[in-house]
C-alpha cells in the first residue's frame, strides 16, 4: 500500500460524473432563473420542460454517483486540519443531499401546479402531491430556498477547491480534473 493515498486520483467515472453534474446544475440554475419571467410562448414551454428533464437527470446521476462511490470509494482526503476535514465532509454530504432534494422539490412543485413531470417527454413521474394553489406556493418557496442553499454551497465548494490548489498547493482540485497527472504521483 502506498503511504500517501491522498495522492490517488478520483476514478475516471467519478470525475466525469462530477463535472457533468457541475455543468448541468449551473446550466439549470441559469435556465430556471431565465424561464420564469418569459411571457407564455413555445420557448417558455420548451425551457420549462428542459429544466425539469435536466433536474431529473441530475437526480439520477447523483444516485449513480453515490452507487459508484460505494463501489469505488473516494480517495482519502488530502492532509488538512481536523476542522477542515469535518467541514469538507459536512459540505460534501450537504451537496449530495441537495443534488437529490432540489430535483425532488421541483418535481413536487410541478405536480402541485397541476403539471406532471414527464421525463424526456416519455416517462411520466407519478404526481405525489395533488394540484393545489396553496401547496404550490409553499413548494415553490422550498424549491427556491433549496436552490439558494445549493448555489451558496457550490460557491463555498469552488472557493475551497481553489484555496487547496493555490494556497495549500495540494492535490485536492487536481485529482478531480480530467487527464491531469499528479505531481509526484505514480499513477
Amino acid at each position: 500500500m502506498k503511504p500517501y493515498e491522498s495522492k490517488a486520483r478520483y476514478s475516471g467515472i467519478a470525475i466525469a460524473l462530477h463535472w457533468l453534474t457541475a455543468l448541468l446544475i449551473v446550466a439549470n440554475l441559469a435556465l430556471g432563473l431565465s424561464m420564469v419571467p418569459l411571457p407564455i410562448s413555445p420557448r417558455k414551454l420548451h425551457w420549462y420542460a428542459w429544466h425539469k428533464w435536466i433536474g431529473t437527470t441530475v437526480f439520477l446521476l447523483t444516485w449513480l454517483r453515490v452507487g459508484w462511490r460505494w463501489v469505488r470509494p473516494a480517495p482519502l482526503p488530502v492532509p488538512m486540519t481536523h476542522w477542515q476535514r469535518r467541514a469538507a465532509r459536512a459540505s460534501h454530504l450537504a451537496l449530495y443531499a441537495l443534488l437529490l432534494l432540489v430535483p425532488v422539490s421541483g418535481w413536487l412543485y410541478s405536480s402541485s401546479t397541476g403539471v406532471q413531470v414527464v421525463y424526456l417527454g416519455l416517462l411520466p413521474l407519478p404526481d405525489l402531491v395533488p394540484a393545489d394553489k396553496t401547496l404550490a406556493a409553499a413548494l415553490k418557496a422550498v424549491h427556491v430556498s433549496l436552490n439558494f442553499v445549493l448555489a451558496v454551497l457550490v460557491c463555498v465548494h469552488t472557493a475551497a477547491a481553489l484555496k487547496h490548489h493555490f494556497v495549500d498547493r495540494d492535490t485536492a482540485l487536481v485529482r478531480m480534473l480530467p487527464g491531469m497527472r499528479l505531481r509526484g504521483s505514480a499513477q
Binding site: I40, S41, P42, L45, H46, A49, T113, G114, V115, Q116, V117, V118, L120, G121, L122, P124, A131
Partner: protein, 188 residues
C-alpha cells in the same frame, strides 16, 4: 277562428313539447361536465368548461326524436392557470372575442347495441363547422340518474386552434380528447 286554431294548435303543441322536454329531462348540470385533455411535450394538460348550456332529449325508444345541443362559453375555460387561460382566449387559440361560443347540434343518434349509442352532429368552433361522431355509453348512477359518458378526439388544426407559433404539434399535440359526462334524471 280556424285560421287562429290552425296556427295556434301547432304552436301550442310545439310549446308543450318544449316544456315536456325541458321538464322531463332537465339536465343535472352540477353533476354534468365537459372536460378535455391536451398534451404538451408528453404531459397531459387537463381542463374543463365552467359555463355551458345543453338541450338534451334522450329517448332510448325514440331515437328519432332524441337530440343533443350544446352551447359552450369558451371564455369560461378552466386550465388551473391564469396565464394559460388568458393565452388560450387570444386570437391564436380560441379567439373568444370573435368566437365566444362553441356550438354542437346533433343530426342523428343511433344505437350501436346494449347501452351504447353514437351521437353524430356538427361542431362549430372558431368559425369552422365539422361533422363529428361522439360514441356514448349510458349507465345509471346510485341515485337512479342516467349518466351518458362519451369522448371524442378533436384535431385542433381542423378548427385553427393554436395557430402561428403554436402550430407545432411536437409541442402541443394535434389531438385533444374531449370528454362529456351528462347526468339526466331517471328516464321515464
Amino acid at each position: 277562428m280556424t285560421m287562429f286554431l290552425r296556427s295556434f294548435i301547432p304552436s301550442l303543441a310545439a310549446l308543450l313539447l318544449a316544456a315536456t322536454n325541458a321538464g322531463a329531462q332537465g339536465l343535472l348540470i352540477d353533476k354534468s361536465e365537459i372536460r378535455f385533455v391536451s398534451k404538451q411535450l408528453g404531459v397531459n394538460v387537463e381542463g374543463r368548461f365552467r359555463k355551458w348550456k345543453a338541450n338534451i332529449v334522450f329517448l332510448p325508444r325514440d331515437l328519432g326524436r332524441s337530440k343533443a345541443e350544446f352551447d359552450i362559453d369558451l371564455g369560461s375555460i378552466d386550465l388551473a392557470s391564469d396565464e394559460s387561460e388568458t393565452e388560450i382566449k387570444s386570437p391564436l387559440w380560441f379567439d373568444t372575442r370573435q368566437f365566444p361560443v362553441a356550438h354542437f347540434a346533433s343530426t342523428s343518434i343511433r344505437s350501436v347495441g346494449g347501452d351504447r349509442y353514437e351521437v353524430a352532429g356538427r361542431l362549430t368552433l372558431k368559425g369552422v363547422t365539422k361533422d363529428i361522431v361522439v360514441p356514448i355509453a349510458l349507465k345509471k348512477d346510485t341515485a337512479g340518474n342516467s349518466v351518458a359518458e362519451g369522448s371524442f378526439l378533436l384535431r385542433r388544426g381542423d378548427y385553427r386552434i393554436g395557430e402561428g407559433m403554436w402550430a407545432d404539434t411536437e409541442l402541443v399535440d394535434s389531438g385533444v380528447v374531449v370528454r362529456v359526462r351528462m347526468v339526466l334524471p331517471p328516464l321515464a
